[in-house]
Symmetry: C2
Subunit: 157 residues, 2 copies
């Protein structure tokens, strides 16, 4: 969790970013942003976000949520995630150099996060080997989480 001050700072930066391209941080967008900040690492779906924003701004329309998330995605304010569960999910973008990745359990569907900087080496290698300038990456691992591994063992003996 982040402090109130960090949060305000974050919002200020985002507002600047938007203003540079003549976009406004309207109350609806602010409310959406607040929800995203208050639910870091929750991987909310569009519908989740809609429901949560409605608490703060009851008159908001679903279309606005879609448009806002699209805008935030274009501005790299959020990351659009796809866990193949039928909808997109969103999380706040982090600094490029400490991006986290996702571990998706094939049994229970839970999504865990982990950090690693090994990918940076890989990026460098791609830049030189493939003549491709890497700006970002997205990594997902599929497998079995602690709990589901254990459940599996229970069946065996």
């Amino acid at each position: 969790m982040v402090s109130e001050e960090e949060k305000r700072q974050k919002i200020r930066l985002i507002e600047e970013k938007l203003k540079e391209k003549d976009c406004k941080l309207t109350p609806q967008r602010k409310a959406t942003l607040d929800v995203l900040i208050e639910n870091e690492s929750k991987h909310l779906s569009t519908e989740d976000i809609y429901q949560l924003v409605k608490d703060k701004y009851p008159d908001i329309g679903l279309a606005t949520i879609y448009r806002t998330l699209q805008l935030f995605d274009n501005f790299d304010i959020v990351k659009k995630l796809n866990f193949n569960d039928g909808c997109y999910r969103y999380e706040l973008s982090e600094d490029h150099r400490h991006q986290h990745h996702h571990l998706i359990c094939l049994t229970c569907g839970n999504v865990y996060e982990f950090d690693d900087d090994l990918l940076d080496q890989l990026e460098d290698r791609i830049e030189s080997n493939n003549d491709f300038q890497v700006k970002d990456h997205m990594v997902k691992f599929f497998g079995y989480c602690k709990d589901c591994k254990e459940d599996d063992n229970e069946k065996e003996p």
Copy 2:
């Protein structure tokens, strides 16, 4: 490209895999598989596949394509890819230990492939650090390809 003999061998193995679970390699499924084999590394969408299979089997229905791809995905015969362009794309699964990954150009949208085994180290690290048993991974890199990098340079000077 693979030889005809390798191709037949591949199909035979897949047929075995299906039979074990009482599924059949019907003519429709065979036609779909052929299309996938003949278009390796093309990242075909469902619609692409539908159009191509129709050449071989004109009466096939779109729903069958969807069901077949779902089946193939469950059997790990194909990989379901998502390049955030509004549809899923498919490619034949490869051996786990030499999986390739995708470089997606943010400008032209082209998808390039590259191979690397650095990910295996990362998997090992995850297994020990996170108590998560990794079965598969999916890695995408976003950036600018050779051509689009050059175009960019033309604007600068």
